[in-house]
Amino acid sequence: MPAQRTFGMDHPHHEWSPIISRPALRWPNGAAVALCVVLVLEHMEWQAPDGSFQVANLSGGSAPRAFPDYARLSHREYGHRVGIFRLLDLLDKHGIPATIAMDAMTAENYPYLVQHCISRGCEIIGHGISVSRTISANMSEDEERGYIRSSIDSLIGATGSAPQGWFGPEYGESDRTPQLLAEAGIRYVCDWANDEQPYPMTTGDTPFFALPLLYELDDVASMAQRKVTVADYQRRLTESFDTLLEDGASNGRVMALNWHPWMVGQPFRVGAADAALGHMMRTGGVWAATGSEIVEHFQSQTA
């Protein structure tokens, strides 16, 4: 529905709240920045089913090609076979816990990888069915409810526990998604890229939060779509961190990164990620945590 030219947001999902008018947020041990690294394990399908929605500019293989697109499919698969292990080692090296956004096709078809992530203590959050089937307004409410349910059930089946968080493939949502996620037992969502702090969403009786990602620092958005150089990407990461550290001294900030193992996990890119994380963790004033830990702490502060 078009906006009505009245006070506040033009949707019902959260209140208008400029960052300058909020009470100070304090992270554990006086940290100014809560650092969350979300690693995306998503599958691109050989042929998506009829009626599914895949974004037109879905990256990989340098450019979309006609079917069968071996290049794009396999370029993305690099993340599952190689890149993820490089990034998990990197996070370990810097003492940063991983939050893994895992789609149902990965959960069901990569048991080795699922067990590996569990054994390394990663938090696993919902990530839909596949990147070739994102949530969109094309879905009916029942379809969307079923989609969310089956994504969650796949994770429960593969990991033995229900995900607390959700990050839709390609940030895909309809105008009902936060409500349906809350109804399905999800506590926080990473699709909303509009803040530097968690915030409550108005989904009903159960508390439900947005954990915003910094979209400009999304590795695919930066390096595959906007053609940012690896060196510039590293600089954007460290300069963002430095600013957040400064601003977070008076009111804590979140630095949540969306990383794709097939992109930033490539041999020539991983060094930049290493250097940037090294800068952040050396500087101090940072609390590296999973999505759940950050939302949990935020909730305890604002209750």
């Binding site: 396999s74 698969e77 080795y112 590996h116 690896v230 020539f268 060094g271």
Partner: protein, 303 residues
Amino acid sequence: MALPPDRIDYLPIIDRPVIKWPNDARVALWISPNVEHYEYQPINEGVRDPWPRTPYPDVQQYTYRDYGNRVGFWRMLEPLDKHGIRCCVSLNLAVLEHFPEIAEAMVERDYDFMSHGIYNTRYLYTCTEDEEREFYRDCIDTLQRHTGKQLKGMLGPAISGSVSTPDLMAESGLIYHTDWFHDDQPTPIKVNSGKLVSVPYSIELNDSSVLRDNHYTAEYFADICKAQFDQLYSEGAESGRVMCIALHPFLIGQPHRIKYLDDALGYIMSHDGVWQTTADEIAEYYIANYYDQAVAHAAQLGR
């Protein structure tokens, strides 16, 4: 359940047979110039338009590429020769028929060749299986006739293919396919008969992606080649890695770019432990030494 196209078994890089290259090299390095010809007046078969900018001919785009054969190729040979590189050319086979001096220069240097189709403006998307079989026969015969060499592998023409491509390649006696970007090591590809492996080509360290599609500088291209090498060289101490640099004479052979190829090759070739080789040799070595182990290991992991 295997995900379609069910060509590649899942083998995580951290859990697979350790690869030892000849002389304990850490990195098998292959350099792949794409020696191509794009037709002046190709046929548009309706899947991909060879010259989408104008009605045919598109003299600007045609000559931009043909510059590679008249000038760029010869300039590109200088740094390749200086660093003693024996290339594995990704070859539009009709080049051998159109431009004998290029054929002679490549044969004289004992380059290896993989098919990159007959012309870069003729794709495999619309081929029937019999037409595709005939295509492989043509590629094999043409290479044999002009170079005396047996064709062993293919990068699909303009990275196109059909659903049956791997089966038909193997049936025709080819042993490697380089349209897969899922790994830093060779991997078995499941086919109906024979043995086929992927040898990692690169969609990232590729002047077409980096310089033409994504508008980066040649200095950046050299930088990422060096960074890629450093990472793979470090990891290759444990288990051998493959690194490919993909070139196009009309791009890297431009006067403002050529020195950066010299720079990247000089850096890489100054290291010990580099097996400067070709995709033909990598595929043969892998099949002789690791193919069976890899298949067995994947079966075990999948259980």
